[in-house]
C-alpha cells in the first residue's frame, strides 16, 4: 500500500438509539389494571421495534423524541494510511458509538463507511477471558477473538508471555491471578495484534505506571511501523504524544478536525463546556455496576452549594452521591483531578474505606481540597467507585465535571501582592523561615 492512500472513508454517519421511556403514572386502579393486563401487547410492540426507526423524519435536532436519541449525526471524515488519529470528546459525545460502527458491532442508521484493509479493534482488554481457563488457554482464546489465527498466536506466544511477565503462571487458571496480572496478560495479547488498521478505545488506562509506559511505547512502535491507528482517549498527554491528527466530537457531531494540539486545547476550553455538576435522574441509565450506581457528582464551595468557580484561597469540595444496592461491600470512592493540559494532578481516596462494609442506601461522599493548593485555571474531575470486596469497579466517569480557580491578588494567597507570572501545576502557600546572622556588621532592621 502506498503511503497517504485513504484507508477509511466515513460519509454522513448517523446513529439513533432507543432509550427507556418514562413509565406512565396511573391515577386510578382501573387504569393501572388495564395497563397491567395489556402489558404483553405493549411489551411485544416495544421489543419488536427496538431496532426499527420509521419515525426518524420528525426530529433530527438531537433532543430525545419520545424514546430516541441521536448518538451520531452526520459525521464525515477520512483517514489516510499511516495516520494516527485521535478521537476526543466528552462522555456521550459519540466516540464509542463511532468505534462500534467502524468495527461492525452495530450498524449505522444513515451514512456509509468504506474501509480498506484488515481492521483489529480493541474496545476492551481481555474480551472473552474466562476465569476457569489457564493463562495459556486465555491467550489463545483472546487472540483468536481479536482476529488472529492460531498460527499467529503460536508465533507470538513467547513475546506475549514475555511482555506480560507471567511465565511462571501460564498454566494456572486465571481466577488465581491478581487483577494486575490478568490485565497485563490481556493487554499483552492485544499489543501483539498486527492489523493494517488498529482501532483502540481508551485501553491505556490500565496497570501501574511502568506497565503503562510499556503500553505507550508499544503503541508508538505500531504507529511508527506505518499502520493506521484510531485512538479514542480522555488522556490528553497520550493523545498529543501518539497522534498526528485528531478530531473532536460533541453530542454526536464532528466539531473540529486538526492537529492534536489544537484539538486538545479546544476540548479543554470551556467552549465545549464540561459542567460543574451532573446528575442522572433515571436509575436505569445512571453509571454503575451491580453494587452501586452514581446519581450525582458536583463541585461544591465551602458552603456546600454547587459552584463552578472558586477563589484560590477557598476550600473546594468534590462530591458524589451514589446508591448502594447490595450490602456488605467495602467501597472506595475516588476522585482524580486533571489540569487543562490533561495532566493528572492527583487522585484521592476516601480513607474511611478501611474496613467498614457498607449498608444499603444513598451515600454522599465529599473530598475537600484545601485552599491554596491548586493553581489558577480550569480543572477537570473524574470520579470512580471501587468495591474492594469483589475488586470490581462500579463506575468510572472520566472528566465528568469541571471548575475554575481564580487567583485575585490579595491577602492569604501564595501570590500575595506579586502581579507577575506564577507557573507550576500547584500553587501551595508554604511557610517560609528566614534567619540571618547578625554577625560582623550591625544592620538597620527594616520592616
Amino acid at each position: 500500500m502506498t503511503q497517504g492512500q485513504t484507508v477509511i472513508s466515513v460519509d454522513g454517519l448517523s446513529k439513533v438509539y432507543r432509550i427507556g421511556q418514562k413509565e406512565r403514572a396511573h391515577d386510578s386502579l382501573v387504569a393501572a389494571t388495564f395497563d397491567f393486563l395489556l402489558a404483553p401487547i405493549r411489551n411485544y410492540r416495544k421489543f419488536a421495534s427496538l431496532y426499527r426507526f420509521n419515525d426518524l423524519e420528525t426530529d433530527a435536532s438531537g433532543t430525545a423524541v419520545a424514546d430516541m436519541i441521536w448518538a451520531l449525526r452526520g459525521v464525515s471524515f477520512s483517514v489516510r494510511q499511516g495516520e494516527v488519529l485521535g478521537i476526543v470528546g466528552r462522555n456521550g459525545a459519540g466516540k464509542s458509538t463511532l468505534l462500534k460502527i467502524l468495527t461492525r458491532i452495530t450498524p449505522p442508521t444513515r451514512g456509509c463507511v468504506q474501509i480498506r484493509g484488515r481492521v483489529s479493534s480493541l474496545l476492551e482488554v481481555g474480551t472473552g477471558f474466562h476465569q476457569e481457563l489457564t493463562g495459556r488457554e486465555n491467550v489463545y482464546l483472546n487472540g483468536t477473538i481479536l482476529g488472529m489465527t492460531k498460527k499467529e498466536v503460536d508465533r507470538k506466544f513467547d513475546e506475549i508471555v514475555d511482555f506480560a511477565a507471567i511465565e511462571k503462571f501460564l498454566d494456572t487458571p486465571v481466577k488465581r491471578y491478581s487483577s494486575g496480572m490478568a490485565v497485563r496478560l490481556a493487554f499483552a495479547v492485544a499489543a501483539h495484534l498486527e492489523p493494517e488498521i488498529l482501532i483502540v478505545d481508551e485501553v491505556l488506562a490500565v496497570g501501574d505506571a511502568a506497565f503503562q509506559k510499556k503500553c505507550i511505547n508499544k503503541m508508538q512502535d505500531v504507529g511508527r511501523s506505518g499502520r493506521t491507528i484510531l485512538f479514542v482517549s480522555h488522556n490528553m498527554p497520550a493523545v498529543k504524544m501518539l497522534c498526528n491528527r485528531a478530531i473532536l466530537l460533541n453530542e454526536g457531531r464532528l466539531m473540529m478536525d486538526g492537529t492534536p494540539h489544537d484539538i486538545v486545547s479546544s476540548y479543554m476550553s470551556s467552549d465545549v463546556g464540561v459542567p460543574a455538576a451532573r446528575q442522572w435522574d433515571d436509575p436505569r441509565t445512571s453509571p454503575g455496576g451491580s453494587v452501586a450506581t452514581l446519581r450525582e457528582v458536583r463541585v461544591v464551595g465551602p458552603a456546600g452549594r454547587v459552584v463552578d468557580t472558586v477563589d484560590i484561597r477557598e476550600t473546594v469540595g468534590l462530591q458524589m452521591e451514589y446508591d448502594v444496592r447490595v450490602p456488605g461491600h467495602i467501597l472506595m470512592p475516588q476522585f482524580y483531578v486533571y489540569n487543562d493540559e490533561g495532566l493528572l494532578l492527583f487522585g484521592t481516596v476516601d480513607r474511611e474505606w478501611q474496613p467498614h462494609p457498607r449498608a444499603v442506601g444513598r451515600y454522599r461522599s465529599t473530598a475537600w481540597i484545601p485552599g491554596n493548593l491548586l493553581t489558577a485555571g480550569t480543572f477537570y474531575v473524574s470520579c470512580a467507585l471501587l468495591s474492594r470486596s469483589t475488586d470490581t469497579s462500579q463506575f468510572y466517569e472520566q472528566q465528568v465535571i469541571a471548575f475554575m480557580v481564580t487567583d485575585n491578588m490579595g491577602e492569604g494567597t501564595a501570590r500575595g501582592d506579586w502581579a507577575g507570572w506564577m507557573g507550576g501545576v500547584v500553587r501551595p502557600r508554604l511557610e517560609w523561615e528566614t534567619s540571618h546572622n547578625e554577625g560582623a556588621r550591625k544592620l538597620h532592621t527594616v520592616r
Binding site: Y44, I105, L123, H130, E132, E137, T144
Partner: protein, 288 residues
C-alpha cells in the same frame, strides 16, 4: 465482509487495491458468509474447547457425568415405563429400547437450550468485539458432541450386554448424526436471534424441552399410532432421528415413513434459521 446495498461508491482517486469493506445501514439479503466463517475457524475451535473445559471445571467426576446423566434417566424410565407400566417395545427389552434413544435426545435437548441462550449469555462479547455472529449458536452444537460421544460408550455397553450384533444399518449412522446436529443448530439459530429481544424464549424453551421428550418415540414405541396421524407425527424431526438411531443400532428395517418427513422439516428449519439469523444479526448488539 462487504454487504452490498445498491451500488458501492468507489473511493476517490485510488488504485483498486486490497479488499474494501463497506458498512451501510440497510443490509441486502445475505446467505451465510462461509468464507468469513472459515477465516474464524480457529476461534470456533477455542470457543468449543472453552465450553468443554468450563463445563466440568473443578468437578471430581468430570466427564463421568456425561455417562451418569443419561444412565440415571435410563434407570428411572426403565423402572417406571418398562416394569411398572409395562410398555411393549416391539420385542426388545425396554432398557435397550430407551438407551438407544435417550443418548441422541440428551445431546439434542442440551444443545438446543444452550444454543438458544448463546447470544444472551455472551451479550458482553457481542458489544465489545466483532466476529461472525453465527459462531455463537453453533458452538454449543459442537461442544455437546463430546458428551454425546462419551454417552455412546454407554450405548455400546448395553448393546454388547444384550448381544445385539452390528448390521449394515450402521453405515447410515453418520448420516443420522449429522441430522442430529442440524436440529439444534436450526432451532438454536432461530431462538437465539429471538431471545435477544424477547427473553420469553428462555422460559418457553424450558417448558418445550420437557414436552418434546414425549413427542418422540423415546419412551414408547410409535407402532400403535394409527396411519392417518403418522405423517403429522413424523413432521417432528426428533421422531426421524430417534427411529433412525434405533434402526442403525438395533438392526431391522428402517421405518422410512417416520423418517423422511422429519428430514424435510429439518432442512426447512435449518435454512430458515440461517436466513432469519443473518437478517437480524446486525442489530444484536443494539437490542440485547
Amino acid at each position: 465482509m462487504g454487504v452490498a446495498g445498491g451500488g458501492v461508491a468507489p473511493m476517490s482517486a485510488q488504485p483498486a487495491e486490497g479488499p474494501v469493506t463497506v458498512i451501510r445501514p440497510s443490509s441486502a439479503f445475505a446467505w451465510a458468509d462461509v468464507k468469513e466463517l472459515a477465516q474464524y475457524r480457529d476461534l470456533f475451535y477455542f470457543l468449543v474447547r472453552r465450553d468443554i473445559k468450563v463445563l466440568y471445571a473443578q468437578t471430581v467426576l468430570g466427564f463421568a457425568w456425561a455417562i451418569l446423566n443419561p444412565l440415571i434417566q435410563i434407570v428411572i424410565f426403565t423402572i417406571i415405563f418398562g416394569r411398572v407400566a409395562g410398555i411393549d417395545t416391539d420385542g426388545f427389552p425396554y432398557i435397550l429400547f430407551v438407551t438407544v434413544a435417550i443418548v441422541p435426545w440428551t445431546y439434542m435437548s442440551d444443545a438446543m437450550v444452550q444454543s438458544s441462550q448463546s447470544l444472551v449469555t455472551e451479550q458482553h462479547m457481542l458489544g465489545k468485539v466483532y466476529f461472525p455472529r453465527l459462531i455463537y449458536p453453533l458452538t454449543p452444537t459442537i461442544s455437546k458432541l463430546l458428551d454425546f460421544s462419551i454417552a455412546l460408550l454407554l450405548v455400546i455397553a448395553v448393546l454388547f450386554h444384550y448381544q445385539i450384533a452390528p448390521t449394515w444399518n450402521l453405515l447410515l449412522l453418520p448420516f443420522f448424526i449429522v441430522w442430529m446436529v442440524a436440529i439444534p443448530a436450526g432451532v438454536g439459530m432461530w431462538f437465539s436471534a429471538l431471545a435477544v429481544r424477547f427473553r420469553d424464549v428462555k422460559f418457553a424453551m424450558q417448558f418445550a424441552i420437557r414436552m418434546l421428550l414425549y413427542t418422540a418415540p423415546i419412551l414408547y414405541t410409535a407402532s400403535p399410532l394409527p396411519e392417518k396421524y403418522r405423517l403429522l407425527y413424523s413432521l417432528n424431526p426428533l421422531v426421524g432421528v430417534v427411529e433412525g438411531f434405533r434402526g442403525c443400532l438395533l438392526g431391522g428395517a428402517f421405518p422410512w415413513e417416520y423418517i423422511l418427513p422429519g428430514l424435510a422439516t429439518t432442512v426447512l428449519l435449518f435454512m430458515s434459521g440461517v436466513m432469519y439469523f443473518r437478517k437480524m444479526e446486525r442489530v444484536f448488539a443494539d437490542v440485547v
